[in-house]
Symmetry: C2
């Protein structure tokens, strides 16, 4: 077993970013540095108005996104952008997520090899 | 924008598996097909007794892990194993996680390229 005290604690998986719906929101926004309209973001993430609002409030509170409202032809238009800090933290989070994937894939492969190995040192593989 | 209605909904990110502590538990277990003792799992994931018990109850309820108790030299020994369904679902979850990473990395790269591109169609890049 690894010497590291808790190799699978994944402290870097920040709960604010790790939540499934917020992961979709952040992925949508990282692709659109100029921001996305509320309606477009809602569609991309398959969320309801209420759910998107709730998750944006969490992300806004953590300074990960900036929400601006203006009027266009007398209709309110809400635009959501990733903040520079939000982009930085999301990229760091993705690095940690990559580590999870690498660990898990390596672990699954190692277990497979173990399964395939003969049970006893002297055992021969069964004929094909 | 993609034609797919909600490309960033990530329906495959099953909440039972996506939770940060449970992700660590499952990664630990996928590496140990014969199971892990409660104390070892606790250490690998950096969890308290109470937290590990609570998360194992959720995973057991979903038939992702099997918890067995036996006595060894009169002391109770709890062993936790991934069930075959648990292994299957965890590997499927990892596939979806890989999709998130691919999407996000591609999105971040595309945004970078956009930033680096000239602002006006006729503009020439600044001399190096």
């Amino acid at each position: 077993m690894p010497a590291e005290p808790a190799p699978y604690a994944y402290e870097g998986l920040d709960r604010v970013l790790h939540e499934k719906a917020r992961l979709g929101i952040l992925t949508s926004l990282v692709a659109h540095p100029d921001g996305l309209a509320f309606a477009d973001l809602k569609r991309l993430c398959g969320l309801t108005d209420g759910n998107l609002s709730r998750h944006l409030a969490v992300l806004d509170e953590a300074d990960l996104v900036a929400v601006t409202k203006r009027f266009e032809k007398k209709r309110p238009l809400t635009t959501i952008r990733l903040t520079p800090a939000g982009r930085r933290r999301f990229l760091a989070y993705l690095g940690e997520l990559e580590r999870v994937l690498r660990d898990a894939a390596a672990a699954a492969r190692a277990a497979d090899t173990e399964d395939a190995a003969p049970q006893h040192p002297g055992a021969r593989p069964a004929p094909a």
